[in-house]
C-alpha cells in the first residue's frame, strides 16, 4: 500500500502530461476542424501523405542502421576499456547531447552550405562547390549525428554487463576473437541493439527540424507535415490524425522488435 502511495505523484504527472494530451490528440483526430463534429475525414486524407510517410520511415530506418554500424563498435570499445576510463568515455559520448539540438543542426548547415566551411576550403583547392546540403544524405547525416548517442548508450550498457567469464569460456572452447564475437557477444547484446534502434528510430521518424534545415523540397518528412498543420496550415485536426497514425505505427514497430528479440535475451541480462 505504501508503495502505491509513493507512486501517486508520478501517476498524477503521467495522467496530466501524457494521458490527457493523448486523449486530446485522439479527440482532435476524429473531429472536424470547423464544425467540431465527429468525422473520419482527417484519417482518410492522410492517404495524400503516404509517400512522405513511407519516405520518413525509410530515412529513419537508414539512419538507425548507420547509427548501429557506427555506434556498436564504439560501444564495444568503451565496454572493453579500463573501468576508470569507461566513465570518461561515456561522458564524451553524451557531451554533444548537452548542447541544444537546434544549435547542433545549424552548425551542420554552416558546414555543408554551398558557401559553407567545407565548400570554402574545397574552393581554395579549385574544386567547385559540392551539393552537400538539401538532399537525403544531409538529412540522414543530421539524424545520425544527433541520435548516435542514443544508440551507443543502450548497447554499451548491455555489453558492459556481459560476464567476462563467458568470453573466457568461449575462448576455452576454441573460439578465436571473431567467433567469440559472433557466438557470444553479439547474441547477448541483441536486447541492447533493439533498444538502441528503437531509441534512434522513434525520434528520427518524427523529426521535423533536421529535415527542414538540412533537407530540400523533396525531403519533407512527416514531422514537417505535422508541424505545418499546426503552425501554418491551421489544421490541427489533420496534424493530430497524422500524429496518431504515426504513433500507432511506431508502437507496432517496437512491439514487433520486442517480439523478435524474444524473452531469452532479457533473461540473459540477469
Amino acid at each position: 500500500m505504501r508503495v502505491r502511495g509513493l507512486a501517486s505523484p508520478y501517476l498524477a504527472w503521467m495522467s496530466i502530461f501524457i494521458i490527457l494530451p493523448l486523449c486530446a490528440v485522439v479527440y482532435y483526430a476524429f473531429t472536424d476542424s470547423v464544425t467540431g463534429e465527429f468525422t473520419l475525414r482527417n484519417i482518410v486524407s492522410i492517404g495524400n501523405y503516404w509517400p512522405i510517410l513511407i519516405k520518413s520511415i525509410w530515412l529513419a530506418l537508414v539512419s538507425s542502421l548507420i547509427c548501429l554500424i557506427l555506434g556498436y563498435p564504439v560501444a564495444l570499445a568503451i565496454a572493453r576499456a579500463k573501468q576508470s576510463r569507461q566513465r570518461f568515455l561515456i561522458l564524451l559520448v553524451m557531451l554533444p547531447m548537452s548542447m541544444s539540438f537546434l544549435l547542433r543542426t545549424i552548425a551542420w548547415v554552416s558546414l555543408l552550405e554551398d558557401t559553407g566551411i567545407i565548400n570554402n576550403i574545397l574552393g581554395k583547392f579549385g574544386i567547385s562547390p559540392l551539393p552537400l546540403i538539401r538532399n537525403n544524405g544531409a538529412v540522414v547525416l543530421g539524424m545520425v549525428y544527433n541520435y548516435l548517442p542514443y544508440m551507443i548508450l543502450p548497447v554499451y550498457t548491455v555489453l558492459s554487463h556481459i560476464d567476462p567469464s563467458l568470453i573466457e569460456a568461449a575462448k576455452d572452447l576454441g573460439c578465436n576473437r571473431t567467433q567469440v564475437f559472433l557466438k557470444v557477444i553479439l547474441p547477448l547484446s541483441v536486447s541492447g541493439i533493439i533498444s538502441g534502434v528503437s531509441m534512434v528510430f522513434v525520434p528520427a521518424v518524427s523529426t521535423f527540424y533536421i529535415s527542414k534545415k538540412l533537407g530540400g523540397s523533396g525531403t519533407t518528412m512527416i514531422g514537417d507535415v505535422i508541424e505545418s498543420q499546426f503552425k501554418t496550415a491551421y489544421n490541427p485536426n489533420l496534424g493530430a490524425a497524422i500524429s496518431l497514425v504515426l504513433m500507432v505505427m511506431v508502437f507496432i514497430c517496437i512491439g514487433l522488435m520486442e517480439r523478435f528479440s524474444g524473452s531469452e535475451e532479457r533473461e540473459a541480462l540477469m
Partner: protein, 383 residues
C-alpha cells in the same frame, strides 16, 4: 616413467604491486590427477588461469609438452576448463551449451547429437536438452559445465571447484565419476578445491598452497603423514601441533618428557614443531610413566568421540572409540612412528592448539572458512 606435460617455472603474478602468486614451481605429468588445495584467496584460481591461458604471469615461464606457451592464447591450447562459477552461456539451452565446443570445431551434427546424449547420460541430465540455463539449479548448472568441458576430450582438464554446489551424496557420486573418467580417458586433471577430504580421496598429487606460495607438493599420504610445516599439518586433517626440542636423532623433548620418534637429521637441541594426529594417540590408565591430562570436552562424532584433553594448559584433540567422561584423568601413549617432527616455520605457533576448540567447532567443519588468519591462543609449556 610418467612424462612431464605442464611445467610452471618461477611464476609470479602481481596485481597492482600486490603479489598474488610468489614464484610458483610446479610440474604436472601426463595423465596425472593433481589437486591444488588451499584456503580461499590463496591463488588457486590464479594458478589455473595461467595454465588455461587467461592470464599471463608477471614473470616466469609456462611450458606445455616442453614448449613455452606464455603467449599462446587459450583457444589454441588443448586445455578445457570447468569454471568456478560455471560460465554457461545464458542465450543457449543445455544441449547447445554442451555442443558449443564441438560446433566451434565443426563436428558433424549427427556426431554432436550422439556425443551430447552420451554426456547428458554421464552427468545424469537426460531429458534436460531443451532447458534454459536460467531454469537449472546450481548443481545442475555445475553438471552442464562438466559436460561442456568433457565433451571436447581435452588433453588437460582444469576443474575449479567443480563440485562446490552439489549436496554431499551427489558430490561423492560425481567424485567417483570424475575419477573414473579421468582414469578411463587418461586425461590430466588439474583440480582445485578447498575441501581437503576431496583432495586426499581423489588425487595422485596434492599441492598445498597458502598466500600465493606452494607449501608442499606430495602424494596424499605424504602431505597427511609428513606435513612440511604447521600450516599443512593443520589444513590437512586435524593436528595437535606442539613445541618440542630435538635432543638427538630419534629423540624429542615435549612437556619436559623425552619421546622416541623416527625423524632424524636435525641439529642437537633444535627447536621443532611436533605433529600428533588425534587418531594416533592411545589412551591408557593415568600413571607416572605416561603423559597425563584431564578430559575437558567430549563430542560424539558417529564413528568415534572427539575428546579434548588438557595437558599442562595445552589442549589436545584426541579421537577415540571409547567414551571418557569430562573430568576424568587419563594417560596417553604415542608410538614413535606416530610422532612427526617439522622444522620451525613462519606458521609455527599459529595452529594446532585446541584451547578454543568448542567455539571453533563449526568453523573447523566448514571447509569454506579461512582460519589461517587466526593465530589462536598461544600457550606454551615451559620446560
Amino acid at each position: 616413467m610418467a612424462k612431464e606435460l605442464i611445467r610452471l617455472e618461477d611464476c609470479v603474478v602481481r596485481f597492482d604491486d600486490e603479489v598474488i602468486l610468489d614464484s610458483v614451481n610446479l610440474k604436472i605429468n601426463d595423465g596425472e590427477f593433481l589437486t591444488l588445495l588451499g584456503p580461499s584467496g590463496c591463488g588457486k584460481t590464479t594458478t589455473l588461469r595461467i595454465i588455461g591461458g587467461f592470464l599471463e604471469p608477471t614473470s616466469g615461464n609456462v611450458y606445455f609438452d616442453g614448449v613455452r606457451i606464455n603467449h599462446i592464447p587459450s583457444h589454441k591450447r588443448k586445455i578445457n576448463t570447468i569454471f568456478q562459477r560455471y560460465a554457461l552461456f545464458p542465450h543457449l539451452n543445455v544441449f547447445d551449451n554442451i555442443a558449443f565446443g564441438l560446433r566451434v570445431a565443426k563436428v558433424k551434427e549427427d556426431e554432436i547429437d550422439e556425443r551430447v546424449a552420451e554426456m547428458l547420460k554421464l552427468v545424469s541430465l537426460r531429458g534436460f536438452e531443451e532447458r534454459k540455463i536460467t531454469a537449472l539449479s546450481g548443481g545442475q548448472q555445475q553438471r552442464v559445465a562438466i559436460a561442456r568441458a568433457l565433451i571436447n576430450k581435452p588433453k588437460v582438464l582444469l576443474l575449479d571447484e567443480p563440485l562446490g554446489a552439489l549436496d554431499m551424496r551427489l558430490r561423492k557420486d560425481m567424485q567417483n565419476e570424475l575419477k573414473r573418467i579421468q582414469k578411463q580417458l587418461g586425461i590430466t586433471f588439474i583440480y582445485v578445491t578447498h575441501d581437503q577430504e576431496e583432495a586426499l580421496a581423489m588425487s595422485d598429487t596434492v599441492v598445498v598452497m597458502d598466500k600465493g606460495v606452494i607449501q608442499q607438493i606430495g602424494t596424499p599420504q605424504d602431505v597427511y603423514n609428513e606435513p612440511k610445516n604447521a600450516f599443512v599439518a593443520d589444513f590437512i586433517g586435524e593436528s595437535n601441533i606442539l613445541d618440542g626440542v630435538m635432543l638427538s636423532d630419534k629423540l624429542v623433548l615435549m612437556f619436559g618428557r623425552k619421546f622416541k620418534c623416527v625423524d632424524k637429521g636435525f641439529a642437537a637441541n633444535e627447536p621443532v614443531d611436533v605433529v600428533i594426529r588425534p587418531e594416533d594417540v592411545d589412551i591408557v590408565p593415568a600413571d607416572s610413566r605416561h603423559l597425563c591430562g584431564t578430559v575437558t570436552g567430549v563430542t560424539f562424532k558417529g564413528l568415534h568421540y572427539d575428546i579434548i584433553v588438557d595437558f599442562y594448559g595445552f589442549k589436545w584433540l584426541i579421537q577415540t572409540t571409547d567414551y571418557h567422561e569430562v573430568g576424568s584423568y587419563i594417560g596417553i601413549d604415542i608410538h614413535p612412528e606416530e610422532i612427526h617432527i617439522m622444522k620451525k616455520s613462519a606458521y609455527s605457533g599459529m595452529f594446532g592448539d585446541y584451547s578454543s576448540y568448542s567455539e571453533e567447532y563449526d568453523e573447523i567443519n566448514d571447509p569454506s572458512i579461512v582460519y589461517g588468519e587466526d593465530p589462536g591462543e598461544e600457550e606454551y609449556y615451559e620446560s
